[in-house]
């Protein structure tokens, strides 16, 4: 069961933090009850998306490796739902 969890990596790089990324550290606590237990949220050192403008603007996170730009808690929850639906 554990290996089917959706992996969310939240970038803790300086730029992401400066552009509001610290809010994402609260994602685990903000997950709706139906998503709890299905998502594994981890902090990460700089994911290096910020050095490539084509990735969009910070803060960044990944959901199962997929880059999410301008991430917010609500955007990540919506993207996690999309990921579950496939």
């Amino acid at each position: 069961m554990d290996d089917k969890k959706i992996e969310v990596l939240v970038c803790s790089g300086t730029l992401c933090y400066l552009m509001g990324g610290s809010e994402l550290q609260l994602l685990s606590e903000c997950l709706p009850p139906d998503l709890r237990g299905m998502v594994d949220v981890k902090g990460s050192p700089c994911l290096d998306f910020c050095n490539h403008p084509k990735n969009g603007r910070p803060p960044f996170a990944t959901i199962n490796g997929r880059c999410i730009a301008q991430a917010s808690v609500s955007l990540l929850i919506a993207e996690i739902r999309k990921e579950i639906k496939g």
């Binding site: 790089g13 300086t14 933090y17 400066l18 610290s22 550290q25 609260l26 050192p45 700089c46």
Partner: protein, 475 residues
């Protein structure tokens, strides 16, 4: 907030490259290119707003402008030659101020024009008439009592605040004749709540970045004095955060928490002396927005405010003693501390937490990737704890004699209700030690912080636990 941070990053990048004068005129164009659309009415308005925000980052009041044609490069040149600072910390970017409608109650089209008409019946000023079957408020006679909103059964009446005026706890920001907000410095306590509240980013804090970089270029040594709340600002331990200042080019770094240890010792002794001599209570004095509040608005509370100096004052005294000819830069969570730094004889300049973060981004430094510096002089955990609400109380209680019965009260954030409460204390105070923090959560909730205060508190707690207790320390 994010635009402000991007602007700071761009300014610092130019300062690092020593080409502020050549590059600054381009920033509005780079940030708002012609073909990318505009946030406001047109790209030219957007660029004008950015220009004036940059003027504040160069350390100017927007009202200092005498000729609208003066380019940013001229301001940059003049800033580079500037020798005098002022204690006016906040400035309103009039170009960005949306001139929000005066605070008022408005009838929406949800009004059903009901027969009972409770809004009209209950209005004490007869300001409500019915026009074409809907309620209409005459704003020339309306006194904004809000009675109509309370009684409307359809919730058809809304309250439209002016965010900056609503947030200011002391009524220091108001409309001038042209509808643009202006700050009355005789009332302002520099808490920065207007800056946080304005959704147009129209209130800016004047920066000392130009001065700090100029001193560095001239070969002066820089001493960073970091406020305790810094521990919560990045997902990194204190060793890495302190190391980051060396990477930025600072020559020495002091934790202001060391000064907090002196504040604790002096304040605990003062509390004991006051209570034993019959004083009913004492309030803390480490938050400069609070002490300005008392000075300007609650005269009757003055005798009860501790005379103990702030952690920054003591830390600066030590740093100045050790570095008599160097440049002391206080790294700050809020504009009130910038104001305090100006009046401190030992502090030269202030760098906000936002400016510190933007500087790291501009310099390409990832604080997480740095090695953790071995900390030479550990402050106490209690000293570091000054960064959050309750920290001062905890520290003073730790050092006060066990025979002293302390009943503490915490004012966790100043708003109009808290001011009413504070005003009542000289007549009747339910405790004998009152800790006052102007920002909710303490300095980790200051208006220049980078991190969400909840996340910052966790990080700060780790820094507190990593340090020894003040009880076991020689202060």
């Amino acid at each position: 907030m994010l635009i402000r941070r991007e602007l700071i990053t761009r300014v610092v990048r130019l300062l690092i490259e020593n080409r502020l004068e050549e590059g600054i005129n381009r920033i509005p164009i780079e940030m708002r290119p012609r073909k990318n659309g505009s946030v406001r009415c047109c790209v030219h308005k957007d660029r004008a707003v950015i220009k004036y925000k940059l003027m504040a980052l160069l350390g100017y009041n927007i009202s200092d402008e005498v000729d609208e044609l003066t380019p940013l490069s001229d301001y940059a040149r003049m800033a580079n030659q500037r020798t005098e600072l002022t204690d006016t910390v906040l400035t309103v970017v009039d170009e960005a101020c949306s001139s929000c409608r005066k605070t008022s109650y408005q009838v929406t089209n949800m009004c059903r024009g009901c027969v009972a008409r409770p809004c009209m019946v209950n209005c004490p000023k007869d300001s409500i008439k019915f026009v074409d079957g809907q309620a209409s408020i005459d704003h020339t006679t309306c006194v904004n009592c809000g009675q109509c909103l309370k009684v409307c059964p359809f919730h058809a009446i809304v309250y439209m605040p002016v965010p900056c005026e609503e947030a200011c706890p002391v009524g220091a920001i108001s409309k001038s004749d042209d509808g643009v907000e202006s700050i009355d410095i005789t009332k302002c306590i520099n808490c920065g709540k207007c800056m946080t509240a304005c959704p147009f980013g129209a209130v800016m804090e004047k920066s000392h970045l130009v001065e700090i970089f100029r001193n560095k270029r001239e070969g002066r040594k820089l001493v960073a004095m970091v406020a305790p709340a810094i521990a919560g600002q990045f997902s990194a331990d204190m060793g890495k955060i302190l190391h980051s200042f060396k990477e930025l080019g600072f020559d020495y770094v002091y934790e202001v928490a060391e000064g907090a240890d002196i504040t604790t010792k002096v304040e605990a002794a003062e509390l004991q002396e006051r209570l034993e001599s019959g004083a009913p209570f004492m309030t803390t004095s480490c938050c400069p927005a609070y002490t300005q509040l008392v000075d300007k608005h609650i005269e009757q509370l003055k005798p009860y405010v501790s005379h103990t100096h702030t952690p920054m004052y003591y830390a600066a005294q030590v740093a100045r003693h050790n570095h008599p000819n160097d440049v002391l830069v206080f790294v700050s969570p809020c504009p009130a501390k910038r104001w305090e730094s100006f009046h401190d004889p030992n502090v030269d300049y202030t760098l906000s937490f936002e400016e510190y973060g933007a500087w790291m981004v501009a310099a390409g430094i990832d604080v997480n990737a740095l090695r953790s510096t071995e900390i030479e002089r550990y402050p106490s955990g209690e000293g570091r704890g000054f960064g959050a609400s309750g920290g001062v109380t905890q520290a003073v209680k730790a050092l006060a004699p066990s025979t002293l019965k302390i009943t503490d009260i915490q004012i966790n954030g100043i708003d109009k209700a808290a001011i009413r409460q504070l005003k009542s204390f000289p007549k009747s105070c339910p405790g004998n030690f009152v800790e006052v923090m102007t920002c909710e959560g303490g300095c980790i909730g200051g208006c220049n912080v980078i991190s969400n205060p909840k996340v910052a508190l966790r990080q700060l707690k780790q820094a507190v636990e990593a340090a020894p207790s003040i009880v076991n320390q020689e202060v």
